[in-house]
């Protein structure tokens, strides 16, 4: 099933190569189907989650829906797929966001439609593959698959400075992934050079002493992932990439691509080297909490609506970083709270930020500006679009009752025992985040309707269709987070156990 989820989009992309590029509608339909197959295939996995067999093999301990074949046995590379709570939630997010992004592209992307859709489908294979792979080499292959389509998607369909943004994105992430590869190969050799399986590696590397080289390896991995997260101070590619990327790509970038970094930390750097993670937890905490405050303040000063939202991604992912950092030094019971909270932050951000970018896109499509100084009085002009924007802004600033709050609240509940009143700094970030959201809403939505924007069309059915599923989830998980929590439960327990063991 996982292979289908991963490769169905790729297969569809191959099929689409044979469709003439003038058949745009057909291409969209095919791409839609290609992205919906994984969605449909994921549903039974979610439904049958609690009943599914949990693997006890060393290569997939604690994983479900495992697929395992030898690939290059000589160096210990195998084709191993398997998911736990951390992975399945991300896959669910990914298979939900891609069809939505394709729908959002319909009628919006007008040039080179065929190339665009094929790249999008390849991207989907890449992300789903990263979340399914349990073998490092396999993981790395998918990791790199993600990189290229993204480069072209920004570089070809982006805005005015698209080439600068695309190159910046590419170099940042490429450097990150090369550094990561070096770290991983070092650990592979240290572990005896018999297997690239992540779980098998972890059982060995987590027993290594903390030396200069293991520390180097840890930070090599973390920096590689931190670029994707993005973690302060490796974040500056993100605002540029977002500003230049077309709306659907921004949705995917914020919604799912950033989660590759957070997921990889959960899956690789921290289970592999929990002992180093524990010793240097303060580094991650310092960077995370600085990122929360820094990004909130930086967002406040932006003049470009989309850039603001981009900085808020850095802000939110900072909560994940501090949660992970806290989990690596806490006793098991509180570590579970922190981990769960941090991960829920990433899930909630994956649901909320895409529609926030979409909201920005709705304004841009109508007014052709993202300049906060030029927008204004939109509640009078386009009330429904404005209402949607206000909803998502409140969700993003962490209003209780909506999904964003649950994660932040549990995160800080878990982080408090580890770092005490330092959480006040994150708290200050919450206030500043609220401040700029309110100021932006005042600038864009409130006030007298502007003459130049009179008569703009209000929301379309397509826009409602894109917005509704994610908005519904935002409310649902805000009032009833149990579904996510149940999915995560086992994985959180296992990981906190792994981390706690490495701490000895």
């Amino acid at each position: 099933m996982l292979s289908l989820i991963v490769f169905a989009p790729m297969a569809m992309a191959l099929l689409m190569l044979f469709v003439p590029k003038t058949q745009e509608k057909l291409l969209f339909i095919l791409a839609g189907i290609g992205s919906l197959i994984p969605l449909v295939a994921t549903l039974p996995l979610l439904a049958g989650w609690s009943g599914a067999a949990v693997s006890t093999e060393t290569y997939a301990k604690g994983m479900r829906f495992v697929e395992h074949f030898n690939w290059i046995p000589k160096v210990g590379v195998s084709y191993t797929f398997g998911v736990d709570g951390f992975a399945i939630t991300m896959i669910a997010l990914s298979v939900l966001l891609f069809p939505i992004a394709i729908l959002a592209s319909y009628g919006y992307i007008k040039t080179r439609v065929k190339d665009y859709l094929i790249l999008l489908l390849i991207l989907m294979t890449g992300t789903n593959g990263v979340f399914s792979a349990l073998d490092f080499i396999l993981f790395y292959v998918f990791w790199e698959i993600v990189l290229l389509p993204m480069y072209f998607l920004i570089g070809i369909w982006g805005g005015a400075r698209r080439e600068y943004a695309a190159i910046k994105f590419f170099i940042y992430t490429l450097v990150g992934s090369v550094v990561m590869l070096v770290g991983a190969i070092y650990l592979y050799l240290q572990a005896g050079g018999t297997s690239f399986n992540i779980l098998e590696l972890a059982t060995k590397t987590s027993q290594l002493p903390v030396t200069g080289l293991t520390t180097f390896a840890f930070f090599a991995l973390v920096v590689g992932f931190a670029v994707k997260v993005p973690m302060f101070p490796f974040h500056t590619w993100l605002p540029d990439a977002h500003v230049e990327a077309p709306t659907p790509i921004s949705m995917l970038l914020a919604g799912i691509l950033l989660k590759l970094g957070s997921y990889a930390m959960i899956r690789i750097s921290h289970p592999l080297l929990p002992q180093v993670a524990k010793q240097y937890a303060w580094v991650l905490f310092a960077l995370g909490v600085a990122g929360i405050l820094y990004a909130a303040l930086a967002a406040m000063a932006q003049k470009d609506f989309k850039k603001q939202v981009a900085y808020s991604s850095v802000n939110h992912m900072g909560f994940f970083v501090i949660a992970l950092s806290a989990a690596s030094i806490l006793p098991r019971d509180m570590a579970e709270v922190a981990l769960q909270g941090g991960y829920i932050v990433t899930i909630a951000h994956g649901i909320i930020s895409p529609i926030f970018f979409f909201a920005v896109g709705m304004f841009y499509e109508r007014t052709h500006t993202r300049d906060l100084g030029k927008l204004g009085g939109m509640f009078v002009t386009i009330p429904v679009v404005s209402f949607m924007t206000a909803f998502v802004a409140f969700a993003n600033l962490g209003l209780p009752g909506l999904a964003g709050f649950i994660g932040e609240f549990i995160t800080l509940t878990g982080v408090y025992p580890a770092y005490g009143l330092w959480v006040l700094v994150a708290g200050a970030g919450l206030v500043i985040t609220a401040a700029w959201h309110l100021l932006t809403m005042r600038n864009v939505l409130l006030g007298e309707g502007k003459k130049e924007y009179a008569g703009l069309p209000d929301v379309t059915t397509k826009e409602k269709l894109i917005f509704a599923p994610l908005a519904v989830l935002t409310v649902l998980f805000g009032v009833w987070p149990a579904p996510i929590m149940n999915l995560l439960h086992d994985a959180v327990q296992t990981l906190s156990q792994v981390i706690a063991l490495g701490g000895k």
Partner: protein, 692 residues
């Protein structure tokens, strides 16, 4: 009783009704239009009926089963009804339970909230004029707000309370910004949201600490577990309790987080009456009262701090209210002051007194806002007291109800506020903080501050009343056009006026002494908090009553003296004599200006700086690295072209030369070829040997 029990056991309906109403009004906004008020009020009356029945069931007792469960737990009122949902979710491995509960305090609050909300919805239907564009939005928000407030008082744990708390914050934001085309509402709504948010962050950290200590956030769980951790983690519990209180400071507008409430008056007056007078702002008081298992168990200094913040706020805000010109602003500062009173009472251990005053205040302050709204409505949206005057003849009903509210707030004997204020001051008089040693004068300081506030309150209300309703009209044009409000406005005011007069009689300690009617101590029994024994000698009670009454009457007398007897010219002379103090108070002690510099401007500068740093330093480093890369590439390119290429060309030239020589060798002679071959082979062998 059996009949009423049915309602108690389905108390969740009270919460569901306004939520449904809000959703339906939002969904059918277009077809409902102005009819939304009938629907909203109707549904709220059902909820009110349900609440009253619940109240009767709780007050009548007969729920012994639940009572036995937590016998002996200190600082916990046994819920009369409690449901819990186990499958809400988990915090790590801790099961979080969501639930609703009803006890005496909740039951009273249910009635108060639904009653005021029903009144507001009736009143607002006539308050908004025909041109109001966002009529249904107001009703949807009011009903959502009511849901939040009802959820807050029904919540059986801190987490749900926080969620409802913020939902109310959102509705408050929406209602303040109701007329968002204008600048003041837009600023006011942001100020309100952010100021309370500052408190909320502290509150959240307080909740984290409590969770860390007790691994439980339900009231029952906290009451059971906190006494066990106090020995080991006393200081931390104290910190948690204080931080929890910062949330209350934000919501209930206590100094130094009080500045948002006056600006919240930018919203429509009916909304102000419900949210910024009667209910939401009392949520902070409710929190301290509800979470008393935290405060009761925490080290004594926490409640002392709570008490002094409350006492200071009440005095501070009352002094500002004496010089406000806008009728709503007077009431806003009065609200802050009265909330300070309640907070002070809770801090002093007067748990029942604080909550009692919260109830009476809800009635008379909502009434005063209604009446003020009616005055403003009658006066063509003029809010300035100095343009009013003599209105009692023009709008007699409004005048009558205002007088009821005024006398209740001023603490005139017999009115509801008189009894609750009396209880407050009695709690202050008999204060004995546990575990904290203080000088004798400090022990009496809250009482002195409270008494001064009582005096100031009577004074500023007399001043406002006189300026609005008595004397000669100051603006004849406005006066001539003044008109009485329609029944939708005066009917709710009449209901609240009755309650403002009589709602104190359920706790009339003095008449109880005189007449011996047990029912007169009704609220004292209903508000009984296990762990707090309130003993006051009769002589002390009489002394306090005498002092409080004197203070109130003196205040009224001073108001009349200054505004009825003394001429405006003399008043102006007196003001110029005390100019510095007048300016200080008139400018609200410059708190807004200080905050503006200290926080707003600083944040703005900081944010600009960070943004500059991000663009010009962090990014410059990245771009610099990129530039180094490209220059390195350029250098390599140059090297490649000039050096490597040159070498290659040189080699090419050399080999061409050699080739030319070889060409000469290509003579076609086999021998020569052979010779060359041998030489090459030998040379190769020699070379190979040498290298090896």
């Amino acid at each position: 009783m059996h009949f009423a029990e049915t309602f108690l056991h389905s108390a969740w309906v009270i919460l569901a009704l306004p939520l449904l109403t809000s959703a339906l009004i939002a969904a059918f906004a277009r077809s409902l239009q102005r009819k939304a008020w009938i629907f909203g009020t109707g549904m709220m009356l059902v909820a009110l009926f349900w609440s009253i029945m619940t109240f009767i069931a709780v007050a009548g007792g007969g729920h012994g089963a639940a009572e036995a469960a937590h016998e002996g737990a200190k600082f916990l009122i046994e819920p009369a009804w409690h449901i819990q949902w186990d499958a809400w979710g988990q915090f790590g491995s801790y099961n979080m339970k969501m639930g609703l509960q009803v006890d005496g305090l909740t039951a009273v609050m249910l009635v108060v909230v639904t009653l005021v909300s029903a009144c507001v919805q009736t009143y607002a239907s006539a308050y908004f004029d025909g041109g109001e564009k966002r009529f249904t939005r107001f009703y949807a928000a009011i009903n959502l707000f009511t849901t939040g407030m009802l959820g807050l008082v029904l919540a059986d744990n801190l987490f749900l309370l926080l969620v409802c708390w913020e939902i109310m914050g959102l509705c408050s934001y929406l209602l303040i910004g109701h007329w968002y085309e204008q600048e003041w509402p837009r600023m006011g709504q942001i100020k309100a949201f952010l100021t309370t948010r500052v408190g909320d962050v502290g509150m959240m950290i307080g909740i984290f600490i409590l969770f860390f200590l007790a691994k439980d956030l339900t009231w029952v769980g906290l009451a059971e577990k906190l006494p066990e951790v106090i020995a080991e983690h006393g200081a931390l519990l104290g910190l948690g309790a204080f931080l929890l209180f910062t949330g209350a400071m934000g919501k209930s507008a206590q100094f130094p987080l009080h500045t948002w409430l006056p600006d919240a008056m930018a919203g429509p007056t009916p909304g102000s009456a419900l949210i910024h007078a009667a209910t939401m702002v009392a949520a902070g008081v409710y929190l301290v009262g509800r979470a008393f298992m935290v405060y009761g168990n925490a080290p004594g200094w926490v409640l002392v701090v709570v008490a002094f913040i409350g006492a200071f706020t009440s005095l501070f805000a009352a002094s500002i209210a004496t010089l406000r010109h806008d009728i709503k602003e007077v009431l806003a500062y009065s609200t802050i002051s009265q909330l300070g009173y309640m907070i002070m009472a809770l801090g002093l251990g007067g748990w029942a007194a604080g909550n009692f005053h919260m109830m009476t205040h809800a009635f008379f302050k909502a009434l005063l806002f209604f009446a003020a709204g009616s005055v403003i409505h009658a006066h063509h949206h003029n809010q300035f007291l100095h343009k009013m005057g003599g209105l009692r003849k023009k709008i007699p009903i409004t005048f009558a109800v205002w007088m009821a509210g005024y006398l209740a707030l001023a603490g005139f004997p017999g009115f509801s506020g008189f009894f609750s204020k009396d209880e407050l001051l009695l709690a202050a008089w008999t204060w004995h903080p546990e575990g904290v040693h203080m000088a004798g004068w400090l022990l009496k300081l809250p009482f002195i501050m409270g008494l001064t506030t009582a005096f100031l309150t009577a004074y500023y209300m007399t001043r406002a009343t006189y300026l609005a309703f008595f004397g000669k009209p100051r603006d004849h044009h406005l006066y001539d056009h003044a008109h009485e409000s329609p029944w939708q406005m005066w009917a709710p005011m009449a209901v609240l006026a009755v309650l403002s007069v009589f709602s104190g009689w359920g706790w009339a300690a003095l008449p109880n002494e005189w007449f011996g009617g047990e029912w007169m101590l009704f609220f004292e029994h209903l508000f009984h908090m296990p762990g707090i024994e309130h003993v006051a000698e009769a002589s002390a009670a009489h002394a306090v009553t005498a002092m409080a009454t004197t203070a109130g009457l003196t205040g009224i007398g001073l108001g009349l003296l200054l505004y009825k007897v003394v001429s405006p010219n003399t008043r102006a002379k007196w003001i110029s004599a005390g100019k510095p103090i007048y300016n200080l108070v008139r400018n609200k002690y410059y708190v807004d200006e200080i905050y503006n510099v200290l926080f707003i401007e600083t944040t703005k500068v900081l944010s600009k700086g960070i943004s500059w740093f991000d663009g010009n330093v962090v990014d410059a480093i990245v771009n610099g690295l990129g530039k180094v890369g490209t220059q390195l590439a350029d250098a390599t390119g140059w090297f490649d072209k000039t050096v490597v290429d040159r070498l290659v060309t040189i080699w090419a030239d050399i080999s061409r030369g050699i080739a030319a020589q070889f060409k000469r060798m290509a003579t076609g002679l086999v021998q020569q070829y052979m010779l060359t071959l041998v030489i090459v082979v030998v040379a190769s062998v020699v070379l190979f040997q040498v290298i090896r």
